[in-house]
């Protein structure tokens, strides 16, 4: 498969009465976009705010972050099976509005986490402080259930990102990146001497607020399967996950999967990137056994020499992670896993809920229990009262001056387990 990714660099977002991209500025016709989103009968209101890097602004609680994209050439459309019709994506040409994102907020449940600080010490820990963000505050109609609420916000974010992405359709990209992958046979012929490497991408799939969708399929109802790396760049995988702010994979992460990017970078040079095996993190133990059996079986089927495994979430996904690692290693496939740690505030506790000597090559996104002090911001967007709940209990404290002392785990994307960040621990 061959995908051309044309990046249009965005350096500002302005709200106005006409939606367009001009000289690197994204103009958003708020009324038009709002009308589109309010077609969803579960939503009562949607408000918009624009935040820029360096501003004294705090956004919370963040549900998802989505990068606007549009399919310009080739089969299918972005977010297949959800926004676009089901159709295999990942080839042709896609345009991206680079440097900006849609950020959805919404208090789906009372204890939701997820802070993005656009400046100050908190900003160092979230990649989204470096983007120009269109923040959408979505309010549901009275009386809808949590799962309807989650669905409504998820769809609003995807629709808005699609609407904005559409503005890039006819633009000339500032920069074009070309990704090309081979089939199993042709890859072997092309790179006979390079080690065959696959990527086992674990997707959160435990149920309400913990779900991931692939081509519209709820991943907990799927067996592990194989994707071409470029499919993720067109939105084949999207996040329905609202909990575990620091180590959940937002849709932005899936679109810009760093493992896929780095493996493609090495593809044909030091390794042969054979494909992506997606698997789930289910609650039922038999599912865990079956899925890890299958991810290993698929890896063997692809005759991999090595595999990278990335995780999402903490606690019982540690079990899936270790099962995957153990079984891959037992099958003779050299494995590196990416995770994060819950080693306690003092860093002295056991970091993972599961462990095995086979996991001898681990990359960590850092200790999520580290305490961080987030100074007061001039402006708080979203549901400021959520700060009370996030900060009020065990995880931290809201100081009288509006600053927050909390664990790193409240910051969106802080200890990402795809290795999106530079944060680590020793």
């Amino acid at each position: 498969m061959r995908l051309e990714l044309g990046e249009i660099h965005i350096s500002d977002i302005k709200l106005g009465d006409c939606s367009k991209v001009e000289n690197g500025t994204l103009y958003v016709n708020v009324e038009e976009l709002r009308a589109l989103l309010l077609e969803d009968e579960d939503l009562a209101s949607v408000d918009f705010e624009v935040v820029h890097p360096g501003e004294s602004v705090r956004v919370l609680p963040v549900k998802d972050v989505i990068e606007p994209r549009v399919k310009v050439e080739g089969n299918g459309g972005v977010f297949p099976g959800v926004i676009s019709k089901v159709g295999t994506v990942g080839s042709g040409k896609t345009h991206v509005l680079k440097g900006c994102a849609v950020v959805t907020t919404g208090k789906v449940v009372g204890f939701q986490e997820g802070i993005i600080d656009m400046s100050g010490p908190g900003a160092d820990y979230t990649p989204f402080s470096k983007l120009h963000n269109l923040v959408m505050i979505c309010e549901p109609k009275e009386g809808i259930k949590q799962h309807q609420h989650e669905h409504a916000i998820r769809m609003a974010g995807l629709k808005a990102a699609t609407y904005l992405g559409e503005l890039a359709r006819t633009l000339t990209p500032d920069e074009t990146k070309v990704y090309e992958t081979s089939g199993v046979m042709s890859g072997k012929e092309k790179y006979p001497d390079l080690p065959r490497v696959g990527y086992v991408l674990m997707l959160q799939s435990q149920g309400l607020l913990h779900d991931t969708y692939v081509y519209g399929v709820d991943m907990k109802r799927s067996m592990p399967t194989i994707l071409n790396p470029t499919e993720t760049m067109d939105g084949a995988i999207l996040s329905g996950n609202c909990v575990s702010a620091c180590d959940k994979n937002t849709t932005y992460h899936h679109l810009n999967n760093p493992v896929i990017a780095d493996l493609l970078e090495q593809h044909g040079k030091t390794l042969n990137f054979v494909g992506v095996i997606i698997t789930n993190e289910n609650v039922y133990l038999m599912d865990k056994e079956r899925s890890s059996d299958w991810s290993t079986k698929l890896a063997q089927f692809l005759e991999l020499d090595g595999a990278l495994v990335s995780q999402e979430g903490f606690g019982n996904p540690d079990t899936d992670l270790i099962m995957n690692c153990k079984k891959l290693e037992a099958a003779g496939i050299k494995t590196v896993i990416i995770t994060d740690e819950y080693a306690g505030r003092d860093g002295a506790s056991q970091s993972l809920a599961d462990a095995d000597p086979a996991a001898d090559a681990v990359v960590t996104g850092g200790n999520a229990n580290m305490v961080i002090h987030l100074p007061k911001m001039d402006k708080v967007i979203g549901h400021p009262e959520a700060a009370n709940i996030i900060a009020g209990g065990f995880d931290g404290a809201l100081e009288p001056d509006g600053s927050i002392t909390a664990e790193l785990q409240v910051i969106t994307g802080a200890t990402n387990e795809m290795g999106f960040n530079k944060l680590s621990a020793r």
């Binding site: 160092d124 080690p195 490497v197 760093p258 493992v259 990017a261 780095d262 493996l263 090495q266 030091t270 390794l271 020499d305 090595g306 595999a307 990278l308 990335s310 050299k334 494995t335 590196v336 990416i338 995770t339 740690e341 080693a343 003092d346 860093g347 002295a348 056991q350 970091s351 993972l352 462990a355 095995d356 000597p357 996991a359 001898d360 090559a361 681990v362 990359v363 960590t364 996104g365 850092g366 200790n367 580290m370 790193l408 990402n416 795809m418 290795g419 999106f420 960040n421 530079k422 944060l423 680590s424 621990a425 020793r426």
Partner: protein
Amino acid sequence: MSFRVVHYINQFFAQIGGEEKADYAPEYREGAVGPGLALNTAFKGEAEIVGTVICGDSYFNENLDAAKATVLKMISDAKPDVVICGPAFNAGRYGVACGTVAAAVKDELGLPVVTGMYEENPGADMFKNKVYIIATKNNAAGMRQAAPKMAALALKLAKGEKVGASAEEGYMPNGLRVNFFEAERGSTRAVKMLLNKLAGKPYTTEFPMPSFDRVAPGPAITDLAHTTIALVTSGGIVPKGNPDHIESSSASKFGRYDISSFEDLTAADHETAHGGYDPVYANEDADRVLPVDVLRKMEKEGKIGGIYPYFFTTVGNGTAVASAKKYGEAIGKELRDAGIKAAILTST
């Protein structure tokens, strides 16, 4: 203002002599001696070695308590802001002395301290979780790399600044996980690690899995009929009422109780303090965890020589490995001192 540093070194690095001078008694000298000069350079004027304590390695290890006290007093009298020991590189007794002095400076004088040695130096395993040990090369040629790291960490500690992760500062991992920013993102590090693993090249995991060492099996007991057996349990059996209040989990102590007068444990006299399993069955009959009744019978039948008058009890539940190790050491010492050759350890 420049920080006052006291430096601890051995007779060899003080250029007094080698093995033949290893019994050299502690001596205090004003100013820097030997490797201290390299440290002074590395301080770049921010700190200065005001005095050096020199002690022979044999002297230190053979007169441990007295030597430690003398050395500590010399250090303390020089009123340092921070103390540096070594580096000891791969010299085993020197490494143990550096670790011992450093730990005592930290615990007894309450002063910041840095030492350095090669990772396979026995002093490293003994002290890396207690004091900051800069990892050095295995010989003195590594001084050039070690001095700036030791000086930088010592300055940080003297200033009361936050100490970064082991990988940043160069000290040996001490069991405390510390966050820091790497030069590359995680995915890039992971790809590099995988390429090394695939090529059979060395790589370092960022999170080592908990590891377990082994002990060689004890010898077989040939004369059981004349052997006294000690009873140990991690099942939390205690005299009724748990007189020492042993915690049900993460216990901070172990129990040691007289069973010399018991033929049989019953619900009237023993119970379990363990919070890690359903206590109903052990409370009904503690012999189900600690088989005193059958051992008494075997004693009478002459199958065993006897039962050690005290049994030892811990709660396995949630007890940190380090504590369990400490309890095991204490129990082992008592049994060895009492000449006991055999123990049954029961676990739930």
